[in-house]
């Protein structure tokens, strides 16, 4: 019973954080609400007794990805976008109505389904007896999914190389073919950036 009440509280805060993320004008506020959502999802992972994943969720999402986003947002000057229109003029209401309809479909379909547990045997008691959540998790990871785990490291390497190449300053030969220089701003914009 306590778990159900806690789940409802965390679920409401998760959805509220998500709705706040997509409605904020200020990108930093949206990002902080996104991290709030991530932390609530981590709390739900704790309630589900997925302890390792909950800690990884906090470390990776609320830690690493947050720092990455904050760094880039501070690096770019985004303050000027707050006065502009935030949503697509032609499709915002259509998109909203269609999304609510799809959500209603999800709920109707889910209300008519009864799930039957496959009883795989990894109950919390069995996991505790086998040496704890992290040990059982890593046993399954390195026995059943070792090859995908190695491929994941290659994906991370490719992402790192791609990110470095994308943000690298272009060489002088490429810059000459551009129509205009990014540094050659109008004086008004330059003065605005210094403020």
């Amino acid at each position: 019973m306590v778990e159900k009440i806690l789940f409802i509280i965390f679920a409401v805060m998760t959805v509220a954080g998500g709705v706040g993320t997509i409605t904020r004008r200020n990108v930093i506020h949206a990002l902080l609400l996104l991290v709030f959502t991530f932390l609530n999802v981590a709390a739900i992972f704790f309630l589900t007794q997925a302890y390792f994943l909950a800690v990884i969720q906090i470390l990776v999402y609320a830690g690493a990805i947050l720092v990455l986003f904050v760094f880039v947002i501070m690096f770019l000057n985004l303050r000027t976008f707050q006065e502009q229109e935030q949503t697509h003029r032609g499709q915002r209401w259509v998109a909203l109505v269609l999304s609510v309809l799809v959500l209603a479909e999800f709920i109707i379909v889910l209300a008519g389904i009864t799930f039957v547990s496959a009883k795989g045997g990894f109950t919390p008691e069995a996991i505790t007896a086998a040496g704890g959540s992290t040990r059982v998790f890593s046993n399954a990871l390195f026995n059943q999914t070792l090859l995908p785990f190695e491929v994941a490291s290659v994906i991370l390497l490719v992402a790192m190389v791609g990110a470095i190449i994308l943000v690298k300053k272009e060489k002088a030969a490429n810059v000459a073919t551009r129509e205009w220089e990014p540094d050659a701003e109008s004086p008004a914009e330059a003065a605005e950036e210094e403020v």
Binding site: V19, T21, I22, V27, F69, F81, L96, I155
Partner: protein
Amino acid sequence: MAPTPADMPIPVDWYLYLSAALFMTGVVGVLTRRNLFIILFSIELMMNAVNLNLVGFSRFHENLTGQNFVLFTMVVAAAEAAVGLAIATALFRNRQTLMVDLFDRMKG
């Protein structure tokens, strides 16, 4: 409501409802917002909704494959955030804007 195992305190349906709500929130964000950063945040929201589903069913079926899969989803999310932010930086450097409907130079 679905019958739950005696030792699962939260019905698995609840995870699905929460996951659907969070996922559609992300879809609304992607479809309506113009700011590239908010669109990236919305994609992260959708990935978290998927993770919730996987963890809930992993607990329901008493099988750890779902939890292992969440780890790979997180890897893909981290890679996507890194590459997406790099693309955003390059776009901002070239165009001085981040509103996605203004990136229409290749439009026919």
